[in-house]
Subunit: 178 residues, 2 copies
């Protein structure tokens, strides 16, 4: 499965940390790319790319001119669109449906909203997915959706060309610097 993320309506100051964390979650949980709409902030994309350089893998982060055009383009290219919203259908039942529609070699675009998501996003999406119908965080919603979409297989992902890696241990820290 190939997974990209489209983050809507980034606000340069207020959302810096949240959008960065969305990128890190995407990378750590098996997505290949985050596309960011809203206010451009080259530092943000750069700081994500620095983490990729250090921790390996081929994740990328870029700002897009218009999320609307990006969404349209992905739809036209046959990607399955899954929009994360607390108003959508329960993730437990819906994530397997998204995976089934995409198929093993399929492509999924995950749309993560900002403030006030326009109704056309709900309409353009193949699935509106609720990771609980309670308020929490885009960051947690994205992680749990990615975990359930891939059924835990994201934990087997390799991050080649890393300058630093961690070897799991019961207690303490075991850092590998190849």
């Amino acid at each position: 499965m190939e997974i990209h993320i489209l983050r809507l309506s980034h606000r340069a100051e207020r959302d810096k940390r949240v959008t960065t964390h969305l990128g890190l979650v995407g990378r750590a949980f098996g997505a290949e790319k985050i596309l960011i709409g809203g206010q451009r902030d080259p530092h943000l994309a750069e700081s994500l790319m620095k983490i990729v350089e250090r921790w390996g893998g081929d994740f990328s982060a870029e700002f897009v001119k218009s999320w609307r055009s990006t969404l349209k383009e992905y739809k036209e290219n046959g990607w399955v669109i899954a929009h994360l919203t607390m108003y959508g259908m329960p993730v437990r039942e819906t994530a397997p449906k998204v995976a089934k529609k995409a198929g093993p070699d399929g492509k999924v675009l995950i749309v993560v909203g900002g403030e006030k998501v326009p109704f056309e996003v709900y309409e353009s999406s193949d699935f509106n997915v609720a990771v609980t119908s309670q308020p929490h965080s885009e960051i947690s919603a994205l992680a749990v959706f990615l975990d359930r979409l891939q059924n835990g297989l994201e934990f087997d992902k390799d991050f080649p060309d890393a300058k630093i890696a961690i070897k799991p241990c019961q207690q303490g820290k075991d850092i590998l610097t190849p």
Copy 2:
């Protein structure tokens, strides 16, 4: 299962949003309480309690004088301590072990670090759990751990006495205000 969260080393300005989101994730994913160590910020606890009042359930948020004493007290009272750290053992294998050790009526304290977690936290914990060994976010780590610890049963949780609730729908928004 009864689940509390202990957040270490909160910094009033810098961590406001992250600690708030940790509280919201805890509430939405079936925990009963968040205890916060570090700089006191009564507004933060208040704003979480306002969400509880509006969205229902009996979650609570409070600052503690010393996380060290809190951790000690929970240990003495027989709670299973699970510390989330990227240096720990993989969540996929470890979450079921935590659940097994706690048992169905058991009690789990989840420790979420801040900057530089002292080694005694690693030592005092029954489990050091890594939600991937890659950098991402405390918020996503907590959500995925809670989901795997409870095996999705957190999605069946009720939030009694809510002033607002959302009914899942395929498209758009269906808000209930009883």
